[in-house]
């Protein structure tokens, strides 16, 4: 962003595109200006607003872990005009980046705890840097239990990383799909049912979940039944965002703007909003 | 008249024939009117009917498709209702039409109620609604189809192209694309209006004279053969653009070309919603 005008994006170049699922691609961007690049740091949960110039802008959570001179990675699901346009870009094309915006998952505050991650579909995107941050600082955290769900086996996100996750010490990766296919020998169950099956103890644990609204709703129910308190459950709130700066008021819910005060909230915070969705 | 309306509304609500009666009540300025939705028989005394009841309530039927609703209509409103029946947007069995013989509406804005009849009412020769289940008021002896005089349109047509261009450019400059004209229009019910489409983007979000002109022109074309002349669009425009003039121009064209005026019967289908093989222009033959 230009300090003169917060609506002006940083220029970045698309470096590579990896197809993750039929609908989702992982885009790797590098910021052009070396000073901006060196100073661009962010935490898991934060997002940026990406510009497909000539088409428009949309918010995307950062799916990479922050490092100086590191590539910014975004998992983009083809669903509208901006996402379709971004997915079709050739490496070498200019893309705009505004951010980083929003708050982040409170990993520092939860060192020493067990972390229970529950993700569905594209919801795995903000959870991936959480997982990778924990794995890079393994001794700072207790057990890591991950549920990664999708509609079908092809739609499971971040498959190239499953082996690394599953083989990390003290880490358990549980995959599940809503519908199997001919080659699938794994679990076929909805994500909330897997929460019940795994029956983790809420003792010294926080749960972080992200996925389709309906998955989150039922996951919350099951977590609460297991004894998780609302302040132990963390999620990201989905509202349409436009400016990312707390100006256009589109993401306003109660006295908060999701782009400025969120998107990460505990269930306790969300339960206090005057408007419930 | 008001007593008859209230009595009928009470009867319909008590008998649970309808879930709601849509009519009019007094507005907060104590002079003009506003729409009223009555759900309980005890509330029917709020219903009024006088020369300030200019609003076309027919559009609200589109929010009430699942329920049975009674609605107060004047003759112009009944044409809009017929349009929605023609286009299969509402079911006849779900609407109880309380038709009111209209004395003509006066010019009103909030806190400004005049004694002057609206220009469209001065021209109107059809005071009895064209479709109703229950009629309030005495129909006048002779009624004629809506006015075929388009003196205001003819006056504009007589000007040179350059003069007309200048006039409409001036109007477009003031438009703020609030879409109030669209929101109140019974003919504008598309779930995604062409202005909201992104692929392709016909108009976009820029609020500027060129885009405003496209907005107004295309909306007028989408209403050709469908506009009932209720004048709601012009009434609500915050910057007083003479939208009715544009709509009436197309109304005149359709009448001259197809001998058709919108909403005169519940069965007729608008010309642009009709395909007759004999009208094919030889394309593909």
């Amino acid at each position: 962003m230009s300090p003169e005008n917060p609506f002006i994006p940083y220029l970045a170049t698309l470096k590579n595109v990896v197809t993750l699922t039929p609908e989702i691609k992982l885009l790797g961007l590098e910021l052009d200006d070396p000073i901006v690049r060196d100073n661009f740091s962010y935490k898991p949960g934060q997002f940026t607003v990406l510009s497909a110039f000539g088409v428009g802008e949309a918010p995307f959570c950062l799916a990479s872990v922050s490092s100086p001179k590191g590539e910014l990675e975004f998992a983009v699901r083809r669903i509208g005009t901006v996402t379709s346009s971004l997915q079709e870009l050739e490496p070498g094309t200019a893309v705009g980046v505004r951010g980083p915006f929003g708050n982040y998952f409170p990993l520092d505050d939860n060192k020493g705890k067990n972390i229970f991650i529950i993700g569905g579909g594209i919801g795995m995107a903000p959870l991936r840097p959480v997982i990778n941050t924990i794995l890079r600082n393994r001794d700072d955290y207790g057990r890591l239990l991950i549920i990664n769900g999708a509609r079908t086996p092809q739609d499971l996100v971040f498959q190239p990383e499953f082996d690394a996750w599953a083989s990390s010490p003290g880490t358990q990766l549980e995959l599940t799909v809503d519908r199997g296919d001919a080659g699938w020998t794994g679990r076929v169950a909805l994500v909330p049912a897997v929460v019940v099956e795994l029956n983790p103890s809420p003792e010294n644990t926080i749960a972080i979940t992200c996925g389709p609204p309906i998955m989150i709703r039922f996951t919350l129910q099951e977590l609460r039944k297991l004894g998780f308190q609302d302040n132990q459950i963390i999620t990201t709130l989905e509202m349409k965002m436009k400016c990312g700066l707390g100006k256009c008021a589109r993401c306003n819910v109660g006295d908060i703007y999701v782009c400025k005060d969120g998107p990460v909230f505990t269930c306790e915070q969300i339960s206090k909003f005057i408007e419930q969705f | 008249m008001e007593q008859q309306i209230r009595h009928k509304a009470k009867e319909l609500l008590e008998g649970r024939t309808v879930e709601c009666v849509i009519g009019y009540e007094r507005a907060t300025d104590g002079a003009s009117a506003r729409p009223l939705f009555v759900y309980e028989p005890e509330e029917v005394d709020k219903l009024i009917f006088d020369q300030t009841c200019t609003h076309n309530l027919v559009k609200y039927l589109l929010d009430k498709k699942e329920k049975t609703t009674a609605i107060i209509v004047k003759s112009c409103d009944s044409r809009a209702l017929n349009l929605l029946l023609n286009e299969k947007q509402i079911e006849r069995e779900k609407v109880f039409i309380i038709g009111v013989v209209c004395p003509g509406m006066v010019e009103t804005k909030w806190n400004q109620v005049s004694q002057r009849l609206q220009p469209r009412c001065q021209l109107c020769r059809q005071h009895t609604p064209l479709n109703y289940d229950f009629l309030v008021g005495e129909p006048p002896a002779e009624e004629a189809p809506p006015a075929e005089t388009y003196a205001d349109v003819a006056e504009m047509e007589a000007k040179s192209v350059a003069e007309r261009r200048a006039f409409w450019s001036e109007q477009s400059k003031r438009c703020i694309r609030c879409y109030a004209c669209r929101q109140v229009c019974p003919g504008c019910y598309c779930s995604e209006c062409f202005v909201e489409q992104l692929q392709p983007s016909w108009v976009g979000i820029r609020i500027a004279p060129a885009e405003n002109e496209i907005w107004q022109t295309i909306r007028a074309f989408h209403l050709a053969g469908r506009c009932s002349g209720c004048n709601e669009c012009e009434r609500v425009c915050p910057v007083d653009i003479p939208l009715s003039l544009l709509n009436r121009k197309l109304e005149k064209e359709v009448w001259e070309l197809f001998d058709f005026q919108a909403g005169l019967s519940a069965e007729a289908v608008p010309p642009f919603a009709t395909f007759k093989k004999e009208e094919a222009l030889g394309i593909g033959e």
């Binding site: 669903i79 006295d255 | 694309r177 609500v236 915050p238």
Partner: protein, 332 residues
């Protein structure tokens, strides 16, 4: 002791300003009175209640380019929009000036909207006190007054053929030379009294009535036309989109409002505020509860434009009185 300027000198001063700046004042535009640039002072209307659309359009235009993206030799360059002109806005009512101060709280909060800031910095506000209270006005219930000098650079109050001049800020002082002012014994008459509405404690009451059926009853007649938000001095929602023409890309922002169907619709189709009642409720909650919670003031200045313009007479004054009855302290 006050300072005054005669009508004649006022017009002469405004004419001189015209030579170097944009002079924006209430003027006829075919029908409604709007704030528009005037080319001669004779076009200024002095006797009016208020303009159909608030003057926020001169600080937060209905459409505004944020930047251009130009491609030269395969490299893209972003060119920010800047505002060059210096302007004076004349005839601003105190309620509208307060409206700008409220928008400031949102737009100038970190990170500041620099385009809006340029508009504010490069425009001098010359206010005109109201001599009459109009039926739609209720400014005193919203924390301002017909003669409130707090939010303008210069405030003029007409007394017969002269105007009492209050210079409020340095910006105002720099604009109006002392030699046009005359010391006087003239005293301003008491300001008019607009109607009063029971807005006291409305925030707390709003907290109680969120789930009331009142909202869906009210929403029955709302047609979601955006008018209330567009004429309002304090509404500020906008949309952003890109346009491409002849290889040049323009990023534009335009007014939008929370009343539009689809305002909160996400890609993929899910819309948390799809229903009419939820959208209608959002506007009043933003104005009467959320904005005060975030920025410390009710986002309404009592200008009454929404009351006049609503096609179905949704009247915020009636609403506030109704809400107090449903949820106020006297309810058991």
């Amino acid at each position: 002791m006050t300072q005054t300027i005669s009508r004649k000198n006022l017009l002469a001063w405004l004419s001189r300003l015209l030579e170097h700046r944009l002079l924006i004042a209430p003027t006829h535009t075919a029908e409604p009175i709007l704030f528009r640039p005037v080319s001669k002072v004779e076009d200024i209307i002095f006797d009016f209640d208020n303009t159909a659309i608030s003057p926020k359009e001169w600080f937060f235009p209905a459409t505004e380019t944020l930047f251009w993206a130009e491609t030269t030799d395969g490299r893209i360059e972003l060119v920010p929009a800047t505002l060059e002109r210096e302007a004076v806005i004349f005839g601003l009512r105190p309620c509208d000036a307060k409206g700008l101060a409220l928008i400031d709280k949102a737009f100038l909060a970190e990170p500041a909207d620099t385009l809006y800031q340029q508009h504010r910095d490069k425009t001098v506000l010359v206010g005109l006190s109201c001599r009459k209270a109009y039926p739609q006005c209720f400014c005193t219930s919203m924390g301002t007054a017909p003669d409130d000098p707090s939010y303008v650079d210069i405030l003029l109050t007409q007394v017969e053929e002269d105007y009492i001049v209050q210079i409020i800020t340095q910006k105002g002082k720099a604009l109006l030379p002392d030699n046009l002012l005359v010391k006087s014994e003239v005293v301003a008459p008491p300001p008019p009294s607009p109607s009063v509405i029971p807005a006291e404690g409305i925030e707390e009451v709003m907290r109680q009535v969120f789930d009331s059926p009142y909202w869906s009853r009210l929403a029955d007649r709302c047609v979601h036309c955006n008018l209330c938000a567009y004429v309002c001095p304090t509404c500020y929602c906008f949309d952003i989109r890109d346009y491409e023409s002849k290889g040049k890309i323009e990023r534009v922002r335009s007014w939008e409002s929370c009343q539009s169907p689809g305002f909160t619709r996400q890609a993929g189709g899910y819309d948390p505020r799809a229903g009419k009642a939820a959208r209608l409720r959002q506007r009043f909650y933003h104005k009467l509860l959320y904005f005060p919670e975030s920025f410390g003031a009710i986002a309404c200045v009592g200008c009454g434009r929404c009351v006049m313009v609503c096609p179905v007479n949704i009247d915020i004054r009636e609403l506030i009185a109704d809400i107090q009855k449903i949820g106020g302290p006297n309810v058991p």
